[in-house]
């Protein structure tokens, strides 16, 4: 920093206040413009979406929310990731298996889930679904197939899962349904969801938003390459990331609260209803269901830090979901406590995007396989 003793403009030249003020203001504005432009240009070389998932997915499907286009192939990458291929089978599922009944003698697991389950941002081989597809038959020396029907976007909402039960799941003849669920899809609201959203309240609490600047500025900046780049580097810090998560919008922090808001309670009730409908169909078809909670980075980071204030409980949502699963007769697996033991949890996620990266998928695959083969599911019990 510059020393206070120096007095600018203390020379002999006559000081013209208006002219000098104009120059200084102009210089300031030019500096801001140049910096923003330069930052954006440099960031745009790395931190932009490439390719497109549009040829592979219908994001406004009237029945299912999101639906894969059968036999489609496309390539896309997150701003922070590498180009990944999305190759969908004849039913629009991201799996190398053909759609249809299972071969005789095969124990088939159908996995339902969201973008994380689908492996958004990584190749199929890198995704935990892809690794389980390879590893389960190899490690258990049994003909086991993991058929992945996870889908990204709003189609991952639990209400759609009951919808596509008879259309998709039954035709696949599963021996077990692996029902993966994360805070993201639990936050997706069904039509008619009426509780006033706490997210609106929390945004209003933001001091900048009282000036009416923050939300608009934040929206504009959110997807800008420079913003992605800054978040990418800053969110590598567990401390900064966690602070942002607990101060962020409701979708980020609702899974961290100890005392649920009315909205969170209603979201849990909504999941309870949707899961009951799903289980009703699974029970009628005689297919066992195992629920697997895939946590957000914020939950993992908070548990991992081992230090949270009394208003937070990163286990709260998991315990709610697992209790609902048990109540409806499903099995339940919780990998959060083990996942939080990984020392560098920040390296498991795309920092800005927050989906698991390739390393994260590898760790998830290991933990899920360990949980599946621990003995609670007899057919998958490791020898």
């Amino acid at each position: 920093m510059m020393p206070p003793q120096s007095q600018p403009g203390s020379g002999n030249r006559k000081f013209r206040p208006i002219r000098e003020t104009a120059i200084v203001v102009l210089l300031g504005m030019m500096t801001v413009a140049i910096l923003l432009r330069a930052g954006e240009t440099i960031s745009a070389k790395t931190f932009v979406y490439r390719g497109s998932q549009r040829p592979c997915f219908r994001f406004d499907d009237p029945v299912y929310g999101t639906r894969g286009v059968p036999n489609s192939v496309c390539k896309a990458s997150f701003p922070e990731g590498e180009m990944s291929e999305y190759r969908l089978n004849n039913c629009g599922h991201r799996t190398p298996l053909p759609c249809g009944p299972k071969p005789p003698g095969v124990f088939r697991i159908v996995m339902v889930g969201s973008s994380a389950g689908m492996g958004d941002g990584v190749s199929f081989e890198q995704s935990f679904a892809g690794q389980l597809y390879d590893n389960l038959p190899r490690d258990l020396h049994r003909p086991i197939q993991l058929y992945n029907i996870s889908i990204m976007g709003v189609g991952a909402a639990p209400r759609y899962r009951a919808e596509f039960f008879s259309d998709d799941i039954l035709t696949l003849q599963p021996d077990l349904i692996l029902y993966t669920v994360s805070p993201y899809e639990l936050f997706l609201k069904d039509p008619g969801f009426t509780v006033p959203t706490a997210s609106e309240q929390s945004v209003k609490k933001n001091p900048m938003d009282r000036l009416g600047i923050a939300s608009r500025f934040s929206e504009v900046l959110h997807e800008a390459p420079l913003a992605v780049a800054i978040r990418h580097y800053l969110y590598r810090s567990q401390y900064i990331y966690l602070k942002a998560a607990v101060e962020g919008d409701e979708e980020q922090k609702w899974c961290l609260r100890k005392t649920p808001t009315p909205e969170a309670r209603e979201l849990i009730n909504q999941f309870d209803r949707n899961f009951a409908a799903f289980m009703g169909q699974a029970d009628r078809a005689g297919i066992p269901v195992v629920v697997l909670m895939t946590p957000r980075r914020s939950q993992v980071a908070m548990v991992s830090s081992g230090d949270w204030s009394s208003e937070y409980d990163p286990y709260w949502l998991d315990s709610q979901v697992l209790e609902i699963a048990h109540r409806h007769g499903a099995g339940a697996l919780d990998i959060l406590p083990t996942l939080a033991l990984i020392p560098d949890e920040e390296s498991l996620y795309f920092p800005s995007d927050q989906h698991p990266n390739a390393k994260g998928h590898a760790v998830l695959a290991q933990l899920i396989e360990r949980a599946l083969t621990a003995g609670s599911i007899p057919q998958l019990k490791a020898n």
């Binding site: 206070p4 020379g11 002999n12 801001v32 900048m208 800054i230 978040r231 800053l234 602070k243």
Partner: protein, 478 residues
Amino acid sequence: MDSASFQFVGFGLAVAILSNFSRKAAWRSGVLFVASLAFLYLLAPQPLTLLPLAGFLAIGYLGVFLLERGVARSYTFSLLVIIFAYIWLKKYTVLPAALFLKAPYFTIGLSYIFFRVLHLLIETADRPGDRRLGPGRYLLYTLNFTTLISGPIQRYEDFAAAQFSEEPAPLDVRVVGLQIERLVRGFFKVNVLAALLDAVHHDALFDMIHPATPAGRISAVLCIVVAYPFYLYCNFSGYIDVVIAIGRLMRLLLPENFDRPFSSSSFLEFWNRWHMTLSNWLKTYVYNPLLIALMRRIPSESMQPFLGVFCFFVTFFLIGVWHGRTSEFIVFGVLQGGGVSVNKLWQLGLARAMGRKGYKALAKKSIYVALGRGLTFSWLAFTLFWFWANWKQIDKIIGALGGVQWLCFWLAIWLGATMVLAAWERLRAALLSIRTAEGPVLTSRYARAVYASTLGLAALVMTVLLNQPAPGVVYKAF
């Protein structure tokens, strides 16, 4: 509002604009008074929580009132009551917990009010009848919102000279420009630099406890040691920059609290450059009276330097202890007092061994200065463990490395700090040597406009992107 946040800056600027509607002392004082009350209300919306603070202020005023009217007997009693009230309200662990108030109450800024009230009591006792303060001026001085949270600790005479003058400090476009630049710089220091260094420190603490590799543990300890002094500096000096700038825009001349402390080549010098208003206060009201009293009792000339060493120890021990209420801060105080005492003894010893001229010549040598700078930083970083950590954390830090590893580590810190700080000083000197007829290019208004815009943009982007509240000012807790 209790940190260098957008709200605080906005509040301060609004008050500054209002304050400048008239240059009359009555108007400016009225605005400052209302603003200070509003500030208190914003910090503590439940007025009942302010009652203990109000009681503390009332006791202080009563003491000043009696002294102004020549009741000299009340002096010692007032001092003791104020000191006890402070220790009691701040819940220092030297008192039994059963004595403390159970209901929550407001204590932010109490330390700084305490210093101001003590200053008034002592000065009034020294010169009774010199002035009549009156409750309005007393409250204006003690509750001034620009210095309430974390100082700086201003003398009443300096406050009054600027605040109650009918010819206040001038405010032209150059002054406004400089203060805006300083405000932006302070905001950047707190909201960007301190926030990042705080994150580095916290992440390193986590990595030290859960290291991925043995080398990871050493690098984590390194980050812990190096990041915290800079974090503390950015956090505190950034806030001070903001309040000094707001004060100046209100035509209040607040004292400087920092003067490039990491350029200090000795620990004694460090305390002349860090939290200067606190160390000056303690030198005025602890060191000097204690030294005079001891010299009266022990008139031996040969003992005088050692009496000075002892007084340094007591003064800086008190500085350390003032920072907190737990036993960690007693160790922090011992290390501060020990640091300055040993530093003084070293100076005395060298002067005796080499002669004054020889010592002065040595102290001017750049290698001596650089090594002293590195050692000062290392000692500060070491003592700060007892400032920010609790015993459990300190135990983990000490256990992170073995005895020989620690020795090598601190040697490396010393040498590393010596080289890095020396390189910084050279770079700074080289940059400032680029001059025009008006002065160094880098301190010209044009350069300031460019870097203030850069820092402002960085702070704005980071604050909005991360959507986090401004980091709290560490010193508000003391």
